[in-house]
């Protein structure tokens, strides 16, 4: 006969998951009923339909905006080039236009990469600061503080992330 499970020790302590508990294997009927209800809550939640929304709604809007910006930029750029044609000689036009065609593309690419690297640094910095803040407030058991360390004599010790 299988050993009866003490729900308080095994499930409530987080050692077993609800799937690992077999029906009729618990110490008393209250525990049996609790596990049964818990299972039903889980299955009810998983059966609930999620709203039919477009995951990329904001992304699509952004792309549309980008296309529009890109068109405006291209248009204004083209207008500048046309003005230059009228103003300078044919020889000067050729040399200028070649320069302007290649440079902005390279600059835009580098700029985009720089911004992404800065963003990554910024996000990781903020995330770590927030996690540290949370770890020292309510989230972590006291014994887990050692997973986070912060220099005592450093410029960010009084850095209030929430005030930014």
């Amino acid at each position: 006969m299988a050993k009866k499970i003490k729900i308080a020790e095994e499930f409530l302590e987080g050692k077993l998951s609800v799937d690992e508990i077999e029906a009729g294997n618990l110490e008393n009927s209250m525990d049996e009923e609790f596990i049964d209800t818990y299972r039903k809550v889980i299955s009810k939640n998983s059966e609930e339909e999620i709203p039919n929304f477009n995951l990329f709604e904001k992304t699509a809007f952004q792309q549309k905006k980008e296309r529009s910006n890109s068109f405006k930029r291209t248009f204004s750029y083209a207008a500048t080039v046309v003005a230059l044609i009228g103003f300078f000689s044919l020889f000067f036009y050729f040399s200028t236009i070649r320069k302007q065609h290649t440079q902005p593309v390279k600059i835009a690419e580098t700029q985009k990469e720089v911004i992404q690297v800065l963003l990554l640094f910024s996000e990781e910095l903020n995330k770590t600061l927030k996690n540290f803040d949370e770890a020292t407030t309510a989230f972590q058991p006291f014994a887990d503080y050692k997973n986070y360390s912060i220099e005592f004599n450093n410029p960010i010790k009084n850095f209030k992330i929430n005030e930014l």
């Binding site: 952004q62 905006k65 980008e66 910006n69 890109s70 902005p104 600059i107 835009a108 580098t110 700029q111 985009k112 990469e113 720089v114 911004i115 992404q116 690297v117 800065l118 963003l119 990554l120 640094f121 910024s122 996000e123 990781e124 910095l125 903020n126 770590t128 600061l129 996690n131 540290f132 006291f142 503080y145 050692k146 997973n147 986070y148 360390s149 912060i150 220099e151 005592f152 004599n153 450093n154 410029p155 960010i156 850095f159 992330i161 930014l164």
Partner: protein
Amino acid sequence: MKTKLIVLVLLIISATGFAQNGEQTIDSTFELLKAQKNISYFDVTGEMFKMLSETKETEAEFKDYMRKLTGMKMVRTYNRHDNGTPDIYKLFMQNTNLKGFSRLMTSETSTRKISFYQKKSKAGNEYLLVQSSAIIYITGTIDLKSISEFEQVMNIAGSAFDM
């Protein structure tokens, strides 16, 4: 009180835990790292930042950042499931002489370790983000608060910049 004291001692031990580093400069460690397998490398010089800060293409919100930067290097790993992909956190820490840098903080979970370093001098500031999948080195007159605020700047101005 006793527990708090133990935690305090633990924190101090971990804060001084990186005293032993290698002898190489940051630049030469980057050279070493970029030669490894499955690494992508990105390097922007002061001249380029000058150009970025002057070009009309740059949005006003970002111009100030470009003006305050004099250098940026990043190595990133890809294909992390390949055994040949190096542990760049370990490699960087073992090889780099971080004398003069102060460690701002380190966070470690079962899957992730990240450290931030800073060095201030009259010539400018240096910032380092060291984690197992990426290492970023930034130099310039920019301060830490501005770097932290960049996330918000991006959320506001990013859309105007096609990001």
